[in-house]
Symmetry: C2
Subunit: 319 residues, 2 copies
């Protein structure tokens, strides 16, 4: 099959082996998939991954042990878990000790004609969620995860730091939860997008951090983001850390102790809530689509997604 | 008066000016004071402090607007707060935006014959807490703060990382709260002290971090402690950060995001609970006293406290 493969370098492969769907697996014919910052970090060495990239997808089930799934249009949760380790048994299966992760860890991903996932990972999409919206289910679920970790209400002062792909989703989810959130970013056209959604937005250059926010969600995708977030949050406030970056940065964490700040790492989230929000049009994702490119141009698609200011690049599998 | 002063370098000053007690202040004749790792960090540049060091003390009230305090034996809370800022008014007065901190920030400290503090900061000591125990009230309160921030119970797996002054207090507080805590350290004689208290203790060299602890309290006082703690804590677990160090360290925080770890900074704590624990002998502090030295030997006392394996050095004001 055709696939976009990372193995020390990134390349389009016209004849990559098709995934062999094991016992509980479903085989999915991918329609399209979104480029995520994690993909870009993997190419820089994050996770040490080798294989087919991509984890934000929509496709049709070709074969499955669950006959009801066959022919259905689905998206899929990316953590493939064992169900038997201490974490799975204690309700933390997204942290399964034996997990593989679609396109990220020991499991070929979605920038290919086919992928395999356990039937239990798949979510059938309602007609009200079209293919473009469907590729946002996974990152939108990650945005909803913030609500699972931090109590948000209308009286809280909340800042989303970063106006990239994830930041703009997190901002919309928080606003949808009734929080008068503010977005701090670097890109005028993205900040304008926030204003269109009636979300307050300010350029980073205008900000003097005042240690006054109840919650700061770091979606910068940069090692410098956390330092800024720590300066913006109030004592005993919470910084939600969403950015995974390949490289570290020397930083002094004394302010975390002095101000008794809470830093919460946040990763994957609830698919059902993301699908419902998209079905009910509570979140605008179509405005985030920058360009649609064919799998054959996958390398260029990744390069494009890397450029400052570029939002979602979608890779389509049509030949 | 005699005082131990830091001003670019540390020196004993035989004729330092006595503190002028302002309106609401009490004047305290210091009996003795403990050397804390924070003092050692200040000498390395932490907080940019200049003045009399020391913040763990016991003394007698010489003058006070509160007549009942005069002549009483007291210890004192170190944060001098305004009572009017947003944080004071919202119940976070230990984080007062206009605070000074005894011996740490814009307020001369306890390594001197006299210090001043607002009457509201002082706690009268019961006879059951002797002068040696009294110098531990402040750090023991900081240890109790962990219980205010993390839910601890007998079923939790909790590790205290670091067998220094603070680590050994935190371990005793957690044990006292019913938690089967484990201490990881580098010093055989301190680990033996834990065993004496019936607290499990293991040398750092024997530890293979397994991402399996519910809570890890980092009391290492080193920038490397947090990295180890992150490797020891389970996904969605909590790292309590107690170490304030003058210098940072480059570290990759991706594991915090991937494992959705909670990092909580922790600083000052409840004096009343610390005094009660000392009065009821629920915590052993006398075993932690390494040596008692006179104020005139203050510079040597600080050097001694810096040596690996040395626990509490007490500076006495007797001439």
């Amino acid at each position: 099959m055709r696939a976009l493969v990372f193995d020390k370098s990134l390349s389009f492969q016209p004849r990559h082996p098709e995934p062999a769907a094991a016992g509980g697996d479903s085989l999915v014919r991918v329609r399209q998939a979104g480029v995520c910052s994690t993909d870009l970090e993997i190419v820089k060495g994050y996770m040490g991954f080798t294989g087919v990239l991509g984890h934000e997808f929509v496709g049709e089930v070709v074969s499955s042990p669950d006959k009801d799934l066959i022919g259905q249009r689905v998206c899929g949760e990316i953590n493939v878990v064992c169900g038997r380790c201490d974490l799975c048994l204690s309700g933390l299966s997204s942290h399964c000790r034996n997990r593989s992760v679609l396109g990220i860890l020991n499991h070929d991903g979605a920038f290919a004609e086919f992928l395999r996932l356990p039937a239990i990972n798949l979510h059938v999409l309602p007609k009200t969620v079209d293919d473009d919206a469907a590729v946002f289910v996974e990152p939108l679920a990650a945005a909803f995860q913030v609500l699972k970790q931090v109590q948000i209400d209308a009286r809280k002062w909340v800042t989303v730091l970063g106006d990239g792909r994830l930041g703009l989703l997190v901002a919309q989810v928080l606003r949808d939860a009734g929080c008068p959130v503010r977005v701090i970013g670097k890109h005028p056209e993205k900040l304008a997008l926030c204003e269109k959604w009636q979300i307050r937005a300010r350029p980073l250059a205008d900000i003097v951090p005042r240690h006054d926010q109840d919650v700061v969600v770091d979606c910068t995708g940069s090692a410098a983001g956390l330092e800024m977030a720590i300066q913006m949050v109030r004592p005993r406030g919470t910084v939600v850390l969403k950015s995974t970056v390949a490289t570290g940065k020397a930083m002094n964490l004394a302010p975390v102790v002095i101000d008794e700040i809470n830093i919460v790492g946040s990763r994957c989230g609830p698919f059902r809530e993301a699908i419902r929000a998209l079905a009910e049009k509570r979140v605008d994702v179509t405005s985030l689509i920058h360009r649609r490119m064919k799998l054959e141009q996958g390398v260029e698609a990744m390069q494009l997604a890397e450029r400052p200011g570029v939002l979602k690049v979608i890779v389509t599998m049509e030949s």
